[in-house]
Amino acid sequence: MYSFDYERPSGVNEAVSAIGEDDKFLAGGQTLLPTLKLRLAQAGKLVDLGGIAELKGISVSGSEVSIGAMTRHVDVANSADVKSAIPALSYLASHIGDAQVRNRGTIGGSISNNDPAADYPAALVGLGATVHTNKRSLSAEDFFVDLFETALEEDELVTKVTFPIPEKAGYAKFPNPASRYALTGVFVAKTAQGVRVAVTGAGPCVFRQTDMEAALSSNFSADALSGIKTEASGLSADIHASADYRANLISVMAARAVKAAS
């Protein structure tokens, strides 16, 4: 780890004004800290968001679930309100990484990092969530740009994510046996705006599987997905899985997500 300065502001404005060109926001630190320790990343200053009360917490209104950026995965997983409003979201959070990661990692940190194999992007895109920052609100699809890339500007900070409550939703994940990230994860939701199918882990960035969405729109059942394949070209390939295998997992996980939907 290279040396760095450290600041722990108590408000969003203070945090944003503290951040400089070489600095980094520190949320749960589950990616950033190991990267710093391995000297793969360097920061002039870490601006720790842990002291900002307004970034924490979960609230449910009639039509949406709102989750503060610094809310930990374990809190989303255990929230009775989330379990009742969007059980698939609670399930997803309960399967992120391991217990240690869930006890430290946050939704804001996870989506701002936009790891291609993270779980949350599937939920955000699958549910048509809105990402709120200190500057603006933008749709999940506009927020996630590419591999480890989001629409966030240097001095922009995610403050909360709002999820419209769907009619039903399900998530099925095939974990990487080593890291327990999603080798492929599919989030399926039947919403007022239609059916959405979001895939994480399989490609460089979360994406919607529109053929499946069309099929499920007329018949929201696993059978409707039978025979729908995803083109392997453009999917990720590494020592853990080929693109062909990931394409297969999209089909299998999508069907399981539909079956699990509630």
């Binding site: 780890m1 290279y2 040396s3 391995l38 000297r39 095939f174 046996p177 080593a178 890291s179 990230y181 020592i239 853990h240 899985a241 080929s242 295998y245 297969n248 997992l249 299998v252």
Partner: protein, 783 residues
């Protein structure tokens, strides 16, 4: 009469209190006043010439104490690391053991090879300075795959090893095997790969070197399984210091699995550097370094053929293996694919003739050496995959085929065609027990049920054997070992009756402090809490050979028994004197000495006290009560048994679910059943890891290690494992006084073969380890 906490009792481990409350003394817990921190600059390339190293900027960096390179060690007369087992090739030539300097001289040969040792006031300063070292590399094309390395035209890694060949070795009667194959009714063939594994002990390797300028004594704390052997090698071969001026201490060590047997570059450099700078120096590997530099295990490519007659009887076995040694020959690397492998190819079977040939070669990868099982898992894997293949070819049930060919219980001692003499066993008993435990006969119904649920079920057997309790010194010496493989012990009574046992074995998780104390408690009637077991310090314990190859109890425990025998013999003389009887009339049981036919008796504690306060004492007897013994085993021991795995495969994803596991093991007599059970659990978990999850992967072109962290190298976790059904059979080992065989490696030896046979059984086609979901899915979806 039995003794509380004696032999056979599941005593809770005495050492666990300190381990689980954070009060252990692992190496990184130990610090010294004035200590500096060492950091190794490592090669980022798999193969490169070093044209120049410029240290000027780094030496000027804040906090830097000194920086050393290979040239400094050479100039100081420090020798290279050695391989302690000489293998002779078919043509009579000795194996090629190229120079292996602790710090690279002229070239680097694997990613992670040591280039420079930076010592600074803090670890961060050492790392900062290392980034300022300018190394001018001429990058060369590497080769990481053993078959490619042995091909003509492969990059030449060492001038001293033409064609990258370390040795071309053979064992067995080739002519007899060829003749048997010529007349065989059936010949079955397999090609198997034994995947390369990273050992991953929980505690990474570390070293703390100290120099006392007054006495000239060097003290090295190191994460070793055998501190005396480390001292011997560093002294006799590297020239670090004479043995009497070098103290090596292996304190609490957090797991080894073989990887801490070896003498590595890092501890060698650390202790040498401590004298150079006349300050304590500490080095602790981080996990990335552990992946890059802890000696790996396995990495064999094998073709095997089995000849059978028309009745399903085995006639002959022929095995050809290529073994990857990595970039350099590690401490005992040469022995693993030869005398720890070829000698076990008879398995549990009566095979009239066997021929094995092994080509070992160098690649641009981390050195490979012994890892839990060391050669024997590789042998069992070949033998047991072969047996299943032959049974399938012959359309026989795999257990029936094995039972038909087993060495029978009345056949001992049984001499195999590959120079082992099995001493005892009952292979049919263990197999039938495992079959009952898992309801083997009910498998067909369970398979049908799985099929109805859209799943594919399979069952697989492995009847393994291992040679443990390594080993009779004369025997291994004749095969090329550079050391004897006896063990030492001292049993020392204190005047108040408590006991300190000094053992040359080393516990790094095995529970010796409990098991060895149970032996003392049982034989001498001393309460277990009054027995202290001391190990791991060359200044405290007699020269010992350490712990590996499931030898601690069979060899180290036997040495303790020999010392106990001397204690009893002396105590009888004292008892006879005190009770005014003749020595011949003194009877001894569990620490109570009595005069035959009377009610006169004395306890061991009373006698020990009398020996230290000898006011009324035999005139011709030395005072004191401490005895030491060295025990050289008469034979290897041969633990054996049958493991059966049952799996259910999801054809949509290829995920293998282990639904049941039965293990029937013969470890001979058992001192602590709970510890034995734990060893079986751990071993099976590691074997399952090899079969399903683990595998070191190098990039073919660059030679970079792609599985360099737990994000990419998959270790087995609790939720990957089933509940195990475990049972033991017991044919006591006739060659040692405890009748024990060893249990530490059995699970890791049996499990890969059992699990892969189950998967192959389910799929109906061969597949290599690790059987990842994608590989299984591809097998299901290919024709």
């Amino acid at each position: 009469m039995s003794v509380e906490n004696g032999i056979g009792a599941s005593v809770r481990r005495k050492e666990d209190q300190r381990f689980i409350t954070g009060n252990g003394h692992y190496l990184d817990d130990i610090n010294r006043v004035g200590q500096a921190y060492g950091y190794f600059l490592r090669s980022p390339y798999a193969f490169a010439k070093i044209k120049n190293i410029d240290l000027s900027a780094a030496k000027a960096a804040p906090g830097v104490v000194d920086i050393f390179t290979g040239a400094d060690m050479v100039a100081d007369g420090i020798g290279g690391l050695i391989c302690g087992w000489g293998i002779t090739s078919k043509d009579g030539s000795p194996h090629n053991a190229p120079p292996h300097n602790s710090l690279a001289v002229d070239a680097v040969r694997h990613v992670g090879d040591q280039v420079a040792f930076v010592i600074a006031e803090s670890l961060q300063q050492a790392k900062d300075a290392a980034e300022l070292i300018e190394v001018d590399y001429e990058v060369l094309t590497p080769v990481t795959n053993i078959s490619k390395a042995l091909d003509s035209g492969a990059p030449q890694i060492h001038d001293e090893a033409p064609g990258n060949l370390c040795y071309d070795w053979e064992l067995g009667d080739k002519a007899a095997v060829d003749a048997a194959f010529a007349n065989a009714a059936h010949v079955s063939k397999i090609d198997v790969v034994n995947n390369r594994l990273s050992p991953n002990p929980m505690e990474p390797r570390a070293a703390l070197g100290e120099y006392d300028a007054g006495s000239g004594e060097l003290t090295l704390h190191t994460t070793s399984q055998n501190p005396h052997v480390a001292r011997l090698i560093m002294s006799a071969f590297l020239g670090i210091a004479p043995e009497n001026k070098l103290r090596v201490i292996a304190p609490d060590v957090g797991g080894g699995f073989g990887s801490k047997i070896f003498v590595y570059a890092e501890e060698t450099t650390t202790i040498w550097a401590a004298r150079k700078i006349n300050r304590p120096v500490k080095w602790t590997a981080d996990r990335s370094e552990a992946f890059l530099t802890d000696a790996h295990g396995r990495d064999h490519v094998t073709h095997a053929e089995l000849a059978t007659d028309s009745d399903g009887k085995i006639l002959a076995f022929r095995v050809s293996t290529q073994a990857n040694m990595g970039a350099y020959l590690s401490t005992f690397a040469s022995a693993v694919p030869t005398y720890l492998y070829g000698t076990l190819l008879s398995g549990q079977y009566k095979i009239p003739s066997i021929y094995c040939e092994v080509q070992a070669g160098f690649t641009n990868t981390t050195p490979v050496d012994a890892y839990r099982g060391a050669g024997r898992p590789e042998a069992t894997y070949v033998v047991e995959r072969m047996m299943d293949t032959a049974a399938r070819d012959l359309k026989m049930d795999p257990t029936e085929f094995r039972l038909k060919n087993f060495i029978q219980p009345d056949a001992y001692p049984y001499e195999t065609p590959v120079i082992m003499t099995y001493d005892s066993g009952d292979y049919p008993l263990a197999m039938n027990m495992a079959k009952d435990m898992i309801d083997y006969n009910g498998f067909a119904a369970r398979k049908a049920q799985s099929e109805a649920n859209g799943k594919i079920r399979g069952i697989g057997v492995a009847a393994y054997i291992e040679a443990c309790g390594i080993a009779p010194s004369a025997a291994v010496g004749s095969l090329g070992a550079g050391v004897g493989l006896w063990e030492s012990a001292e049993v020392r009574f204190n005047p108040t009756g408590s006991v300190t046992v000094f053992t040359g074995s080393h516990s790094h998780g095995q529970g010796h402090e409990t098991t060895f104390a149970q032996i003392i408690s049982d034989k001498l009637g001393v309460p277990i809490e009054s027995v202290e077991v001391v190990h791991g310090d060359t200044s405290k314990v007699p020269f010992g050979m350490g712990t590996y190859g499931s030898r601690s109890l069979a060899v180290g425990g036997s040495a303790i028994v020999k010392a106990i025998d001397k204690i009893v013999e002396k105590s009888k003389k004292i008892a006879a004197h005190l009770m005014e009887a003749s020595v011949e009339d003194i009877e001894h049981e569990h620490g109570v000495f009595s005069v035959a036919g009377t009610d006169k008796k004395l306890t061991m504690g009373e006698i020990a006290f009398a020996a230290y306060v000898p006011h009324n004492y035999p005139a011709d007897l030395e005072p004191g009560m401490a005895e030491n013994a060295f025990y050289d085993p008469l034979n290897f021991t041969f633990p054996a048994g049958t493991h059966i795995a049952e799996v259910e495969i999801d054809p949509a994803t290829g995920v293998v679910d282990i639904v049941d596991w039965a293990a029937a093991d013969d470890f001979g007599n058992i001192i602590n059943p709970m510890i034995v059970e734990g060893q079986v659990h751990g071993g099976v978990a590691q074997g399952i890891g090899q079969a399903l999850l683990e595998g070191v992967v190098y990039d073919d072109e660059s030679g970079q290690l792609l599985t360099g962290s737990y994000m990419d190298y998959c270790m087995p976790r609790a939720d990957d494992l089933p509940s195990f059904r475990i049972a033991t059979t017991n044919t006591p080992c006739p060659s040692n006084p405890l009748g024990v065989k060893g249990c530490g490696e059995a699970g890791a030896i049996a499990a890969p073969a059992a699990l892969m046979n189950a998967i192959v059984n389910a799929l109906g086609k061969d597949i290599d380890m690790p059987a990842t979901p994608e590989k299984v899915w591809r097998a299901i979806n290919s024709n």
